[in-house]
Symmetry: C3
Subunit: 273 residues, 3 copies
């Protein structure tokens, strides 16, 4: 099941339906074509499999001992590429990260260390972001004559508001975990990676009891409503709600009401989002 994402070092807990990726590649977890291929395969797997919760983390450190989550895109592979190839490559990055943002399950990023450029953009694909005190975040792009091209321009302000997005993107100022929490780039600070993984397991415990269809429908509706006017937002919500009825999930929930109260997991069946 996981051979196509071996490059992402997957570990799967079938009882919790929790997939954990512990990134460990290249010099500093920089993301180039090979890793992108694996993330694309990951999307395919998540869209059709039973995984209910994804956690992406890293225990990597530099030679000098600095912890690293994702140091950025692999720019060395681009040496000598003509402009059109760079454009096509960044379009592919954007497209894969957009697809990852919409996988029909709950996703968590757990940063422990350097999270720059593409690494910060990866955070923006996660539903929820944890960081240890070692987290370090920044957008170096404008100092290199480019801009963040895979969500860092389009999506960052949705997470942190326009002011902090402009500060990070225009000035390139790097921030630590406390500041990332304050501005809303990360949502909780955990003492260390193990504590972060324990926090993710509490989410997975909650998620495994819930209708995979309803979770997927909720996430899709919420993301689709973003950036829409109210009338459109409410139309999206109406269609999403009625999808839960039409797939029979609401009826399963009603029929299982006592069982749910007693702590049992209803027979939701596979996701039908």
């Amino acid at each position: 099941m996981f051979e196509r994402i071996e490059a992402l070092h997957p570990h799967y807990d079938p009882e919790l339906r929790l997939l954990t990726l512990t990134l460990d590649h290249g010099k500093a977890n920089e993301v180039g074509t090979v890793t992108l291929d694996a993330f694309e395969a990951l999307c395919e797997l998540l869209e059709h499999g039973e995984v209910a919760c994804l956690c992406t983390t890293s225990r990597r450190a530099s030679k000098s001992g600095t912890p690293i989550f994702i140091s950025g895109a692999d720019v060395t592979e681009r040496v000598g590429w003509p402009d059109e190839r760079v454009k096509a490559h960044v379009r592919r990055q954007r497209s894969i990260l957009q697809r990852l943002r919409h996988v029909p399950l709950f996703t968590v990023a757990l940063s422990h260390g350097v999270t720059l450029g593409w690494g910060l953009e990866f955070l923006l694909t996660a539903d929820y972001c944890l960081t240890t005190p070692a987290g370090r975040f920044g957008l170096p792009e404008t100092g290199l004559g480019i801009i963040p091209g895979a969500r860092g321009t389009a999506e960052l302000a949705l997470a942190v508001g326009p002011a902090h997005a402009l500060r990070l993107g225009c000035t390139g100022e790097e921030i630590g975990a406390d500041e990332a929490l304050r501005i809303g780039l990360c949502h909780e600070i955990v003492p260390d990676i193990d504590a972060g993984l324990a926090r993710v397991r509490t989410f997975a415990e909650l998620l495994r009891r819930r209708s995979p269809t309803a979770v997927a429908v909720y996430k899709r509706g919420l993301l689709a409503a973003t950036g829409q006017a109210e009338a459109e937002r409410l139309c999206i919500e109406a269609a999403a709600y009625e999808r839960c009825i039409d797939t029979g999930q609401a009826a399963i929930g009603r029929a299982s009401f006592s069982a749910i109260r007693a702590g049992e997991v209803p027979p939701w069946g596979p996701r039908r989002s």
Copy 2:
């Protein structure tokens, strides 16, 4: 004036033009058809009356002493309903809560206790949310095979951002008052209900001095601008500003400038939004 909303236990202070609802019905302030009817009548009353500030709260507690604001929708009344009736009922919920969100005056929710499902969605209709330390918030829906169908999918991210909205909606994790304040679901914590009511009275004191027309125009413009691109947002603002001139409110304000400075209330007249 208030007979059609008796089910909501209204108390009106005519000097402050402050209407306070102290919910107290059913087993746990669950909201079914009868209460929905009363909320619909409330909208009618607020749209045409002189009320300048609405506060909704509850002093209810469960048998075991747990404080309750609104425990959720009344799902027991739906037993045996065909799917189409459930859909129509939820459409009506959504429609009434949307109408309540747009009433032309300042509205405050003051939670003291359990605020789940529909209760949390009710918070999203209020302009401003207070909670006591007893506030407890969550979205159990995806654990029942459905999704929040009356603003909890469409509107929650506007209040708390996409990450916390996805966490609450996908995992169903419940949170307390401190966490609700941190993520922006509630906007202030007050020590207890009486302190919350005192806080609302300070708002009402400010509001009674202001042009009811200008307040209504401001609220309508601000809500209409949400989810629009900048050019459209500024068009909405321009029309709203000029409405204040065309209704004569700006002229009353200019003519009353010294009186306003001296603490008097200008003769704004009834709301003409």
Copy 3:
């Protein structure tokens, strides 16, 4: 270079390319036609010049010693104006503040004192807002029969969310620096004006090393994406990214990679946004 903005008391540091305005006019830095003219000239200057960072502040105090940033619009000049002239004047305010919001460089407001009405709306044009503990913020408009007409209705909720925007605009409640930080109206508190100016210089130090073109493209893309649905946001990002390639800035960055690492500033050339 700066004669047309003398009314704004400019000081320019050519090494940092940092332009600092220290407002000091009228009774209380109220903004009327003359100051608006200067802000319009400022936009022209910033759109075509080399300035990389703008800071607007004030050391003004009232006779009784209350510090003042901008006390509001100059309403006394409007006495006797017919309605159509007031409308045209406010349209011009809105248009100039919109233009200022989009200047192709990083802008900071540093408030030390009273920041009411138009003053608060001015904050909403800045990319980043600092305040000293003396900052005091409010929207008195609805108490005067009008609404905030130059971003305070259209844009405030983007900075502070709908709840705090409705509270400020509907009730007119004034808030201090701590509360402005909490709700996201200001982004950092600095001990005093000199500390604020030092903070701005750290931004300017970062900015002078970066591609002026990439910074401008980032800011334009981020602002254009606001209030759009995701597909449109990503299209805007794609066009912005490719603009950095087509202007040759990405190539300069790649060619200067070692120099950038060594702390040198690449030959970015003038801004081509």
